[in-house]
């Protein structure tokens, strides 16, 4: 019944809209002109049907897969791939991207907790970082209201000075080079200009790993300890730490045995920490090369640093580290962020670009002494249908989705057009 009443109401709306439109056009009452009213209905319905038909044509042309008619048709392979998602890119290329915010919890209680009232945004983002409150329910002889007791997280005690691996077994420098014949390459670690050296007498060094990932044809790779400080090579090719024969190269044994070099027949070799006594400031390196293979492809050297002492504390950029009180006009970050409109992949339709020959008309005109061009060029217009989304407008902790706003506004406009014509 309810649906029926809404349906009747909608019918009334459209009917009155059509009636008023007709009155405006012809200045006559529509009631007495049922024939012309029917005519208008036919025109409108025909237009809508045409639109519908065009839409269906567009859809079918988009998804049609024409198959050749054969006597023995074979089943097409099922397309199990998912469609590629629309990649969105910012409409304004010079817009500053929003920095990635750090919501990691601090080690202890956030600074200012219990002293200031956090704002809603901070509460919603950092709720998990707050100390857990355990409610103690009153006993029979207790007070009427439950009291809450806060259990604070223990403060971590600073540890002692231990040897610290900058990135344990995770190599922070990777160098890949392609070789086709004898090749040597010098790597430097730490890079030039960085003060990554060690103090005098401090045990330090580097660890090293040689990967021959694509090296099925790689034959020999070996590394020497060409340590150097600055631009001065202290030791060059004094000790061969590791030698590899990745592929079973027939001359591998001969090559190294003739040079008195120890080697292993493994693909990857982790050299482990290579200690050295450092007294310099920078420019410690190693040297390695591959040889003797005609089609050696790729060698990856990975190397990192052993660091003695306590690791440097990275400055915490976490939002949750300190309780945010709320909006203060002096802080620009609290005001909000402007929306960044994003555009998707455009779909282009080209119209024009035709060269129309005038043919016999120009020849005919030439008989009368009129010079006509032999062809007329229609310039090409490209209609680029680009999906767009407006993004979020964030002000004073309130986020407004402009896409939903646009949707609602369009719906309201449509209703208004229908109701008030």
């Amino acid at each position: 019944m309810k649906c029926q009443s809404i349906y009747n109401w909608l019918c009334f709306l459209v009917r009155s809209w059509l009636r008023r439109s007709m009155q405006r056009c012809s200045g006559l009452q529509l009631y007495s002109l049922s024939a012309s009213r029917l005519q208008v209905m036919k025109v409108i319905s025909g237009f809508c049907l045409l639109l519908f038909w065009l839409l269906s044509l567009l859809l079918t042309s988009g998804i049609s897969s024409t198959k050749a008619q054969t006597d023995y048709p074979t089943a097409p392979p099922e397309n199990t791939s998912t469609p590629a998602p629309t990649s969105w890119s910012p409409l304004f290329g010079t817009a500053t991207p929003n920095p990635t915010k750090d919501y990691s919890c601090p080690a202890g209680t956030p600074v200012g907790y219990g002293q200031v009232t956090p704002n809603a945004a901070w509460n919603s983002q950092c709720q998990a970082c707050l100390p857990v409150r355990t409610a103690v329910w009153p006993t029979q002889s207790g007070t009427a209201l439950p009291t809450s007791v806060a259990t604070l997280a223990p403060t971590p005690t600073p540890g002692g000075v231990t040897e610290y691996w900058l990135q344990e077994k995770d190599f922070d420098y990777t160098t890949q080079f392609n070789v086709t014949s004898r090749y040597d390459k010098f790597f430097e670690y730490p890079p030039q200009g960085s003060n990554g050296g060690t103090g005098s007498g401090t045990l330090a060094g580097m660890f090293l790993k040689i990967d021959s990932t694509t090296g099925t044809n790689m034959d020999i790779f070996f590394v020497s300890d060409s340590w150097r400080i600055g631009n001065t090579t202290l030791q060059a090719n004094t000790t061969i730490y590791q030698v590899e024969c990745d592929w079973d190269y027939p001359n591998c044994d001969q090559y190294f045995s003739s040079r008195g070099i120890q080697y292993t027949k493994k693909g990857n070799k982790d050299l482990g920490p290579v200690p050295f006594g450092g007294g310099g400031n920078r420019g410690i390196g190693w040297k390695g090369w591959a040889c003797c293979g005609p089609t050696v492809q790729s060698v990856v050297g990975k190397y990192g640093n052993i660091w003695a002492g306590t690791p440097p504390e990275p400055p915490s950029q976490s939002i949750c580290g300190e309780v945010n009180r709320g909006f203060t006009p002096g802080e620009p970050g609290d005001v909000g962020t402007l929306p960044s409109p994003m555009v998707g992949n455009p779909t282009n339709f080209n119209i024009g670009g035709w060269t129309i020959g005038t043919g016999w008309i120009s020849e005919l005109a030439q008989l009368f002494g009129i010079e006509l061009p032999t062809s007329i060029y229609v310039p090409q217009f490209t209609f680029s249908f680009t999906p767009i989304k407006f993004g979020m407008l964030e002000m004073f902790g309130v986020e407004v989705d402009l896409d939903i706003m646009a949707f609602v506004m369009a719906a309201l406009l449509a209703v208004r057009i229908l109701v008030r014509s």
Binding site: M41, S45, F381, K389, A406
Partner: protein, 32 residues
């Protein structure tokens, strides 16, 4: 010459809904 036509999916959906509405209403009106 490229003419950029930005289409918002939500607005397009509303327009499609309006078109559908008009179509259905017209068909309903045609039924005697």
């Amino acid at each position: 010459m490229t003419i950029n036509l930005y289409m918002h999916p939500g607005v397009m959906a509303v327009l499609a809904a309006v078109l559908l509405f008009v179509l259905i209403k017209t068909l309903v009106e045609l039924i005697p």
